[in-house]
């Protein structure tokens, strides 16, 4: 290679012997560092010297070539330059190319700092989420037992007929009773919601028809009381968590019954497949809602009706949304006030891998 070419090349170049003594060093590197010591390692920071001797020299001797090694070179007047070196061993001579990476290094350090920050924040967020879940679980648990006592007392007062019908006390008492019931509902739903972990549980093959039957069974009392009629067409087998899917349909059916019109509830569950997506529709003849509220209804603890009108907590549908997310799918609703609603579930067909939750 032409010496003149290397002498003023836009990179540092030097050759050292096997003892580390500098044989040649080009003008560029001399200019950068302002000096030309006897040994190569004297161009390096202390940490670099040790690293060179204990790691790089053995490496270079064994494989005769190293590349993209980041070191810090030091010169006179406190000059300190982060560099990348490539080195090659040829018999007893080691050739080293040096690239100044001052700008890159600064950028790298900034990225490193940001990455550490992001990792910290992610860690904290995870902790906060865990705490929150733990809190919701504990709080609803702890709230449950005094509430049970209160409900017990209310029952006792009723049973023993301690309050005269039609009196002022009777009015107050029914208010207390209604609110206690509402609170019991809320605590129950909160507890269920907090138990639904944010990770997808183990996924297995689930017969959806069976899931629907189980969900109806869980609502037996309400179904009998309202004389609700279910029509369930042929249902697919899906990959998912059975317990979550039962809860999903239970919530949907419970809503159809709760928001029924004057007529007895008629609930139709149908299925079709399109573009590798299983569509399941739950249609009812209930009171329905305005379409501009179709998204709102899935928000956590968001309700269209006050608890005085129709008891509820606003947790059921947001729970449905979460369950669908765990299954890699989605839920939406369509409705015409007074004409009933359709809840549309979309389950993408999975090849072999279970869905990834986030």
């Amino acid at each position: 290679m032409d010496d003149q070419l290397l002498e003023h090349a836009p990179c540092g170049y030097l050759q050292i012997d096997r003892g580390g003594e500098i044989v040649r060093i080009n003008h560029t590197l001399r200019r950068w560092l302002g000096h030309q010591p006897r040994f190569f390692e004297d161009l390096l920071s202390m940490g670099g010297k040790i690293y060179w001797q204990t790691h790089l020299m053995p490496l270079l001797n064994m494989k005769e070539e190293i590349s993209e090694i980041n070191l810090t070179m030091v010169g006179t007047n406190d000059v300190s330059i982060p560099v990348l070196i490539n080195a090659k061993k040829d018999k007893d001579i080691y050739s080293i190319f040096v690239v100044n990476i001052t700008q890159r290094k600064r950028y790298e350090q900034e990225l490193l700092i940001e990455r550490r920050k992001a990792e910290d924040i992610a860690q904290r967020l995870k902790q906060v989420n865990n705490d929150l879940e733990q809190f919701a679980n504990t709080a609803s648990h702890d709230l449950q037992s005094p509430l049970r006592t209160i409900s017990g007392m209310i029952d006792l007062i009723e049973k023993k007929k301690l309050i005269k019908p039609g009196s002022v006390e009777s009015n107050l008492f029914s208010l207390i009773k209604r609110n206690a019931n509402q609170m019991r509902l809320m605590v129950r739903d909160l507890l269920t919601y907090s138990k639904e972990e944010d990770v997808a549980p183990e996924h297995v093959q689930v017969l959806i028809e069976e899931v629907c039957r189980e969900a109806i069974d869980l609502l037996k009392e309400d179904v009998e009381k309202t004389q609700a009629v279910f029509t369930i067409s042929e249902m697919p087998i899906l990959i998912g968590s059975k317990s979550q899917l039962v809860r999903l349909f239970q919530n949907l059916f419970e809503n159809s019954i709760k928001y029924r019109s004057d007529a007895a509830p008629v609930i139709v569950v149908s299925h079709h497949t399109a573009n590798d997506v299983d569509h399941i529709h739950v249609k009812d003849n209930g009171i329905g809602f305005e379409m501009n509220q179709a998204t709102e209804i899935f928000s956590f603890m968001k309700r269209l009706h006050s608890a005085d009108q129709i008891p509820g907590t606003g947790i059921g549908l947001s729970s449905c949304k979460r369950i669908m997310k765990h299954h890699g799918g989605s839920i939406s609703a369509e409705s015409v006030p007074g004409k009933g609603s359709v809840f549309k579930l979309e389950f993408p067909r999975l090849n072999t891998d279970p869905p990834v939750s986030n």
Binding site: S45, G47, Q53, T54, M62, K63, S67, R115
Partner: protein, 232 residues
Amino acid sequence: MWRFITPEFENDYRIVLFDHTGSGRSDESAYDIDKYSSLHGYAQDLIEICDELNLQKVIFIGHSVSCMIGVLAANRRPDLFDKLILIGPSPCYINQQGYHGGFSRKDIEDMIDTLESNYLGWSSHITPVIAGHPDKPEYSDELNSSFCRMNPQIAKHFAKVTFMGDNRVDLALVTVPTQIIQCDPDMISSREVGLFVHSQIKNSHYTQIEVAGHIPHLTNPVATIAAIREFL
């Protein structure tokens, strides 16, 4: 690591080479961060290798940090070892009161930063690029078994254990005949350190070779072999 040295001795001796746990081709799953938080864990492994292979009259040749591993093993089981040959030993790299190890704590931390910037950097996937050697296939095997294949987390821990340790008191307990092979100049284990090791190990043999650097067995095998022969 030893490819230039072993051919010289393989006719007369049985040669046993091994990778320390966490490096080379060792089983990484056996790496226990507590066990290997001092050199005693490595010494334990060395004793187990000798016992497992039923080795007797072992001549231990160690380089750099492995010297102290050999010393610790020989102190626990002097019956196993015939001789210790220590190339570039240092019982303590950091300067202490009345002792010159060669480095300050900051120097070592700086080195670990350098190591990190090469192993870990800002991407957990970057390791020093290891170029292939199509013209020398026999090297690739050795490369795979060398320390450059170390898991970055282990490499960092190992460097800390090595450079932050202090095994000076163990030297006086050595009863096995010992040779110190000292390079000059060697910035990692200086002559001063080599002479300290010599002064602490009773009846030890000191051989200085005029080879610059810390890895004479790679940079000057001829001088290294001659030094080893002198003691055998």
